[in-house]
């Protein structure tokens, strides 16, 4: 089995109002060193091994559904796991 960790973030050029709101809140908490906050999504996929190109499959899933390429970027990590 593969465990795929997908991180989806807003593109740098896209304003992240949620991140801004959290940053202001952190400042109110006294964490004035925080310069910027960007909020994204974290997804964990578990895939069965098979006769397929793993990267191709992940890219297809990420670019068609898991992220919206117009406003978001993604990156991913793959871990091999033993099914229990």
């Amino acid at each position: 089995m593969y465990k795929v960790k997908v991180y989806v973030t807003l593109r740098e050029s896209v304003l992240d109002p949620q991140g801004k709101a959290v940053m202001h809140s952190l400042h109110k908490m006294g964490q004035s060193e925080v310069e910027d906050v960007r909020i994204g999504k974290y997804l964990e996929l578990t895939l069965q091994k098979g006769d397929y190109d793993l990267d191709e499959k992940i890219v297809a899933m990420c670019s068609k559904l898991l992220s919206n390429p117009v406003i978001e970027d993604y990156r991913y990590e793959v871990e091999e796991v033993v099914a229990q």
């Binding site: 304003l15 109002p17 559904l65 898991l66 919206n68």
Partner: protein
């Protein structure tokens, strides 16, 4: 003319849309469930507002893989009028029938209020009953209506006159005050404001009715007058 109101799990403006078309416009209309596989019997497709699939992942993103959406794409390619309002607009963006994407409102607040819209293009099948520059009042109700597209796309939208409605006072941060756009061919319209909630003075405005009347007029000109 017969309309389909597509119902996704989580649609909640489907009844308003149905009412607008049936009772105020006097046209045939049917609810069509999201797993339907044939829209050939309909002349116009309406994607209502709401929270399809709970807005999980991103607004409109999961609906793009509903069974019925391949039929909606087919209808759009055939030139049938397709109107997506609010969540319907978000679905059209995610499906790729319209360019761009939606972000959270700049204020992070859910906005629910009447908005003044400017009719930028009165030559579409959705707006022929309006005057260019006409200001109309139509309510909005959304948390994620902050329209975004890159510079290049914006240029194309302008060149082809695809920006149909803009906000007089931008409530959500949309690029260029955009409230509604069409595809290049002009038969697919996506808009965040709800014309179906502005079809009777009782609702505070009937400015949305002309949008539906425009669709019917163009359909009659194309199909009825020709026979």
């Amino acid at each position: 003319m017969k309309f389909a109101v597509i119902v996704f799990p989580g649609s909640n403006c489907d009844t308003d849309m149905y009412h607008a078309v049936k009772d105020e416009l006097g046209m045939d209309v049917e609810y069509v469930w999201h797993d339907a596989s044939d829209l050939s019997g309909f002349d116009g497709i309406l994607l209502p507002g709401g929270f399809s699939y709970g807005d999980y992942l991103r607004t409109g993103s999961i609906a793009q893989f509903s069974n019925v959406m391949s039929e909606v794409v087919k209808a759009a390619k055939e030139g049938k009028p397709v109107l997506g309002v609010c969540n319907g607009f978000q679905i059209l963006l995610e499906t790729g029938l319209l360019p761009g994407a939606m972000r959270r409102n700049e204020s992070l607040k859910f906005i629910c209020q009447p908005e003044e819209l400017k009719v930028q293009n009165a030559c579409t099948i959705f707006t022929s009953q309006y005057e260019k520059g006409e200001v109309i009042s139509v309510p909005v109700a959304h948390g994620e209506g902050n329209y975004y597209c890159d510079e290049e796309t914006l240029k194309v939208l302008k060149e082809n006159d695809q920006i149909v409605f803009t906000y007089a006072k931008n409530p959500n941060g949309s690029v260029e005050d955009i409230a509604g756009i069409t595809n290049k061919e002009g038969n697919v319209l996506g808009m965040m404001p709800h014309p179906e909630r502005a079809v009777d003075e009782l609702l505070g405005s009937k400015d949305g009715l002309k949008l539906f009347q425009s669709i019917v007029k163009s359909w009659r000109e194309r199909y009825v007058a020709a026979t």
